[in-house]
Amino acid sequence: MRLSSRALLRIVTCAIVSVLTLELCARIDDWIGYGAPVFSLSYNENRLYEYDQLGKRSRPNARYRKWQLNSVGSRGPEVIDGGTRILCLGASETFGLYEPEGQEYPRQLERELNARLPDGHFQVLNFALPGMPVPVITTRIPEIAAAVHPRFALIYAPVATYVWLPDLNPLSSAPRDHFEWRLAELVRNLGKQLIPERLQDKLRERDIQQSLANLGRAPFERLPQENLDRYRSDLEELISTLRRYQIEPVLVTHATRFPPEPTTADWPMLVAWRRFEPLLREEGFLPMERSGNDILRQLAAVDGLFLVDAASRMPAGDRYFADFVHFTAEGSRQMANILAEELAPHLAPDQSN
């Protein structure tokens, strides 16, 4: 059967109409659900950020999907006068990816602390942003301190951002806005639901190989000492900056979904993690986490800092972790409980001030 050019044109027109309708539906859906602009070129997490000579920072009053920032740029409700303010600094684990609105651990921690110490009037301000490296956090401390005058800062900084050191350099301008199909993300998510896990693992492995080829570098077995040293020095810098602004740093060790002795069942999740950090082999991730947490413990011991060892207290598994390091709502509740339990005695005397 041969198709006439007229019929072929009709088929192509119908395909174009269908794709455009689906795209328009996705845009209207975003507009109804999140107030997203229908005709903007793109709609992605970059809406949450703005850039200056120091690099990336949160954009006050920004909104992207369920994520809403307040007028000082922290995730959550507006800052109110009075009470004790606690900063939460970190990356996507702290910012909250998978939890429903209000269930990310800083918000749960605030509720926990206020329930345990009702006179404290604690406000926990979530100043974390996805992919935020420690040096960029440090540069933002002066403006955050001036805006909200916090008493404490919880530092939950993942060492995984130190796999590829050029990632630590702050971007001084926003990535160029270009047209993005909103449909593409929906199709990707649908694919994740429909494609069997094994096939997804294969696709991830292919992505990793492609990323390595693009970087033109051989992967590491273990995170190099140089990178760990940089992690330590960046944390020291952050701590001293916080102290300079009379903010007491509280270090929190980094938890993952993996049990102390991972099994073969954990391998796909390590592959999924490596997709974001292709330079480090899967076998290197858990030793990297242990080294990072050892650094936190050493810093706390040497500098006499308060440390919450969440890594050793957080239970493993998918009830608490939606992926390798990001919490589920239940995981965030657990994390908030751990933090509140440890912090409450430490914060209690502060109520008398």
């Binding site: 009709r10 027109t13 119908c14 109409v17 269908s18 309708t21 689906l22 539906c25 996705a26 859906d29 929906l186 649908l190 429909l194």
Partner: protein, 475 residues
């Protein structure tokens, strides 16, 4: 293998693709194999039960025809028919109702303070048994009545019983409608392809977007111990649309799949919530079952031939058994009794109602029509409360909550129900007033139709809830 599953998304194109490559006999054999595979995908242990139905009815019908040709006495023919009916009903009774009757008997004994050690059995309910048993029985009865010649080849008859699109949830096809389509070569027309694709998209949209999204909302309300009147109302309205979209969605897909292979299955739903009376409702809701009950139960009981009292009795018996057909539980019997009562009352009041609503002026006629549709919808919804409830206590509690003034109105809940059911209602108003059920399939130009289908596809692919099993599979 649900129609809204990845497995079916693989099964369907393979089966249909190979089907198009074959000639008539090969198509039938291929479809029979595919249908048995489809049925075995639920549980292979169901296959012998299905096979027993096929074998019994094929040979009994053949024998009945032989007896008719030999001009055997009517008594003997009736006895042979009774054997087939007995075998079918015994299987249905055992697999579906055995535990129900044992439980009920036990409860009755306990109520009389008689204790007896009676145990129920751990019986697996073969999926779709009510549908294929009724279908197979209709074949034997039609052959007995001389309305249909017996099938010559077992494989043709086996395909009639097991034809996968309608095997597990109907529509219940009479042999006079389906068997001739199996016996003669089929040619899928362009219109059938267009209508088939339309029905599949439309049915899946109703199931995946409306029914599956309403399901958690309904489940939540029906699991509340003491729901408020407003919650009950919303729960019942939501269930009305859930069950309609679930069941009619299934049959739309079934009809669409069949059309793509050149088969025509009967219309099973015709805008039932636009009925103005109980009688009309049963000509619009689950049409294949109501036709079956009318042809094989109500008419043999005497129908409306022997005076009003007997007509009422026949209506009640038909609806009670129709209720019991839905499931082995007393709330289905109660639902059947409620539907029977509505039919009886309507029949008794019909002359007066016709007079009362006989308006000449167009606005008055329109208002009267709207009023009757709304009243009938409320009556139908109360029936759904009986149908969905899990206990008599729940029926009483929820009914009582409806009788009190509503204290609080949950706007979010109302918005959700309207959000899911509203678009369907708008489209159905259009279908009702234009009298075109397939209006989407007839949209012109083609690009507009493609755009409309794309919107439906968007909603069912990206706004669908977690897939739920079709409600009517349990029957």
């Amino acid at each position: 293998m649900l129609f809204n599953s990845l497995e079916f998304a693989l099964f369907f194109p393979i089966v249909t693709g190979v089907y198009y490559l074959l000639r008539h006999r090969g198509q039938n054999l291929w479809l029979l194999a595919a249908s048995l595979f489809f049925y075995a995908s639920w549980d292979w242990r169901f296959l012998p039960i299905l096979a027993t139905t096929m074998v019994v009815d094929f040979y009994v019908a053949g024998y009945l025809e032989k007896l008719a040709k030999m001009e055997a006495p009517e008594r003997k023919r009736k006895l042979v028919l009774a054997i087939s009916m007995g075998a079918n009903l015994a299987m249905l009774g055992f697999f579906k109702y055995f535990n129900f009757f044992i439980d009920s008997f036990h409860s009755s004994l306990l109520a009389l303070h008689i204790s007896a050690p009676i145990n129920t059995l751990n019986i697996l309910l073969p999926i779709g048994i009510s549908f294929y048993t009724f279908q197979s029985m209709s074949y034997t009865i039609d052959v007995y009545r001389g309305e249909l010649p017996a099938a010559r080849h077992f494989l043709d008859f086996a395909l009639f019983v097991s034809f996968y699109p309608h095997l597990v949830a109907g529509p219940i096809m009479r042999a006079v409608d389906l068997l001739p389509q199996i016996l003669s070569p089929r040619h899928t027309t362009r219109q059938q392809v267009l209508d088939g694709i339309h029905l599949m998209i439309w049915g899946l949209w109703k199931k995946m977007f409306i029914a599956d999204n309403l399901a958690p909302l309904v489940n939540g309300i029906f699991s509340e111990t003491a729901p408020s009147g407003f919650h009950t109302l919303m729960g019942v309205y939501a269930f009305a649309f859930q069950i309609y979209c679930d069941f009619s969605g299934y049959t739309d897909v079934a009809r669409g799949v069949a059309k793509l292979m050149g088969f025509e299955l009967v219309l099973n739903f015709n805008l039932p919530y636009f009925s103005t009376s109980p009688q009309e409702f049963w000509t619009r809701w689950h049409i294949s079952l109501s036709s079956w009950l009318r042809n094989y139960l109500y008419f043999p009981l005497g129908g409306s031939r022997d005076g009003e009292a007997k007509t009422y009795r026949n209506l009640m018996i038909t609806m009670l058994l129709g209720g019991l057909w839905h499931g082995a539980a007393w709330n289905f019997v109660l639902w059947g009794a409620y539907q029977g009562t509505l039919l009886v009352i309507h029949r008794a009041l019909q002359p007066r109602l016709d007079k009362m609503f006989d308006f000449r002026a167009a606005p008055a006629r329109a208002a009267s029509l709207t009023f009757r549709i709304l009243v009938m919808f409320q009556l139908t919804c109360f029936g759904w409360l009986l149908f969905r409830a899990s206990s008599f206590t729940q029926i009483v509690t929820m009914t009582a909550s409806l009788l009190h003034p509503f204290q609080q109105v949950d706007k979010d809940l109302a918005l959700q129900v309207v959000g899911y059911a509203g678009p369907l209602l708008v489209i159905q108003c259009w279908q009702y007033f234009s009298e075109k059920l397939m209006f989407l399939a007839n949209l012109r130009p083609l690009e507009l139709r493609i755009a409309a289908y794309s919107v439906l596809m968007y909603l069912m692919l990206f706004r669908a809830a977690k897939p739920q099993a079709f409600i009517y599979f349990q029957f």
